[in-house]
Symmetry: C2
Subunit: 311 residues, 2 copies
């Protein structure tokens, strides 16, 4: 049975939403959920919800990394926190995946300090699956781990995205593009221009050139879109802006409703040798449940094994 | 009477849409429109539309800079083109403004080679007014002239945007923010972090800090949002993606319909001592008419004079 660790203390509305999300997830899937957090609080929430806490494995954590904590120093200082303990048990193999909606910086630090990197990959990144109008998804990466990237980092993200698209999204020959302000090869800033050359000459995936954002959702031109973590995070937040408009204007549209961040279920960290999922700080219990499902589907896709075969 | 020059040969559907847009604009406003292009073709389109071509001033141009032309070499080589002649008559003062939906690169070259810069500004930029859910607009700049920017360029864009917001949009004390992936001061890539310091220490406008895209339209947090031309162009194109979705899904919403690029009416070049408007390559005749109205409103706002007073 898959063992999925969840940071019960992570997120703006934790531990309540985290535990309720775990309860919800455990009702739907045949997985073993390990909750990292204050045992007394977790047990209390379970009892209030009429759920037997004995169905979880609870790892009692007496400390918690807050959103306001500095990631590196908190990771070194708060050894009893849910995030530090989660990475310890992931690294030791006690759990198969670890998911958290907590301090993203601390999750980055945990990946870097605790886990091995995939061969030939120098930096981890995070990705998001965004909905296309034709029902498919496009994978965008990096969406926030690396605000400053070199062109060779982008090339590595392309390789990671290619394997993710095949393994998790089931795309046979993913079309990989570079996010850019024009379709032609000479367009963009210096970084993207240099990346274009690297992608054209040195990639072992199907590079199809530059992708402009205006038709990205409606023309389904690419399966994987590569960019730096600054640009990608802005892109993701603008997609969230779209969903915020939909909510405020009370627009009912089946396609636009798929931009609801709760459905993403968090984003997988790519480039490390274990399955780590990062959720939205604002995660509702439904978002937490989807984050756990995401961990399960990434594990079942054998993504990590495929990285190691192809890389 | 204001004399507004229009590149009749500029845009994917020129000269037809350009001339029809000019006809439309001249019916609504008391302005003198100067058309730069092939006299015979322009006259033919007017006659077909039952419009007296004598109501325009036509500057016969025997050449045309195409979208596929290299901007710098074309500007030097094609001296009889509509864009080169437009800049010549703008510089000489024969016309008060020049607008084109043609080759943007050639328009950039024209600004740099022909026009004087505003005092203390080292690079021109372009801006776009995007609709807010409360009915106001937010000014975003640069949206494409400078793919690579230094932090001091961003500071200058902030100064330009501040004066534009006051002069053209009538905002008394514009709130100026930096587009970024987090609200806190330490967030972002190296360029934006350094810009944050410059904005905090050295700006003579109301700097309110970082602006994240997710709430930019719904929370109306800023009047002016500053970014580099690469990021800004991607942001603008993603806003166009939003409108493309609205069209494809046949969503009827009064707010979302304001994202129709035809309503923008082009973007003013900021930083040069004359009024230059750049339109969308795909401009319809309605978009061309709005581009002419934009030129008129910028002229009437006395933007250039205000730049020179404050700069």
């Amino acid at each position: 049975m898959l063992k999925i660790g969840l940071d019960a203390m992570g997120g703006d509305f934790a531990p309540l939403n985290a535990v309720l999300g775990a309860i919800d997830a455990s009702a739907h899937k045949d997985i073993q959920i390990w909750l990292f957090g204050d045992r007394e609080i977790i047990t209390g929430i379970c009892n209030n919800a009429g759920f037997d806490p004995g169905r979880f494995v609870i790892i009692d954590c007496k400390d918690n990394i807050l959103f306001t904590d500095h990631p590196v120093s908190a990771f070194h200082r708060k050894r009893e926190s849910s995030i530090v303990k989660g990475f310890q048990l992931l690294e030791s193999g006690d759990i198969d995946a670890f998911a958290s909606a907590g301090n993203t910086g601390a999750m980055m630090v945990g990946c870097s300090l605790t886990l091995n990197m995939i061969n030939k990959i120098s930096r981890p990144c995070i990705s998001v699956e965004l909905p296309l109008i034709n029902g498919n998804k496009v994978l965008l990466l990096d969406v926030g781990f690396n605000a400053d990237c070199r062109p060779d980092n982008l090339l590595q993200f392309g390789a990671l995205g290619n394997i993710y698209s095949k393994s998790v999204l089931g795309v046979k020959e993913p079309k990989v593009g570079l996010l850019n302000i024009g379709a032609e090869s000479g367009k963009g800033n210096l970084n993207v221009k240099e990346a274009y050359t690297l992608f054209s000459e040195g990639s072992d995936f199907n590079f199809i050139g530059n992708i402009e954002p205006d038709n990205i959702f409606t023309d389904s031109c690419a399966d994987v879109v590569v960019t730096d973590g600054f640009t990608g995070n802005l892109f993701l937040k603008q997609a969230e802006a779209l969903y915020n408009i939909v909510c405020k204007r009370e627009i009912e549209d089946a396609y636009l409703s798929r931009f609801n961040y709760e459905l993403y279920g968090g984003t997988a960290v790519l480039g490390v040798s274990s399955v780590v999922i990062i959720g939205h700080g604002r995660s509702s219990s439904a978002a937490i449940a989807n984050m756990i499902f995401k961990a399960e589907s990434v594990l079942k896709s054998r993504l990590i094994e495929n990285f190691n075969i192809f890389a």
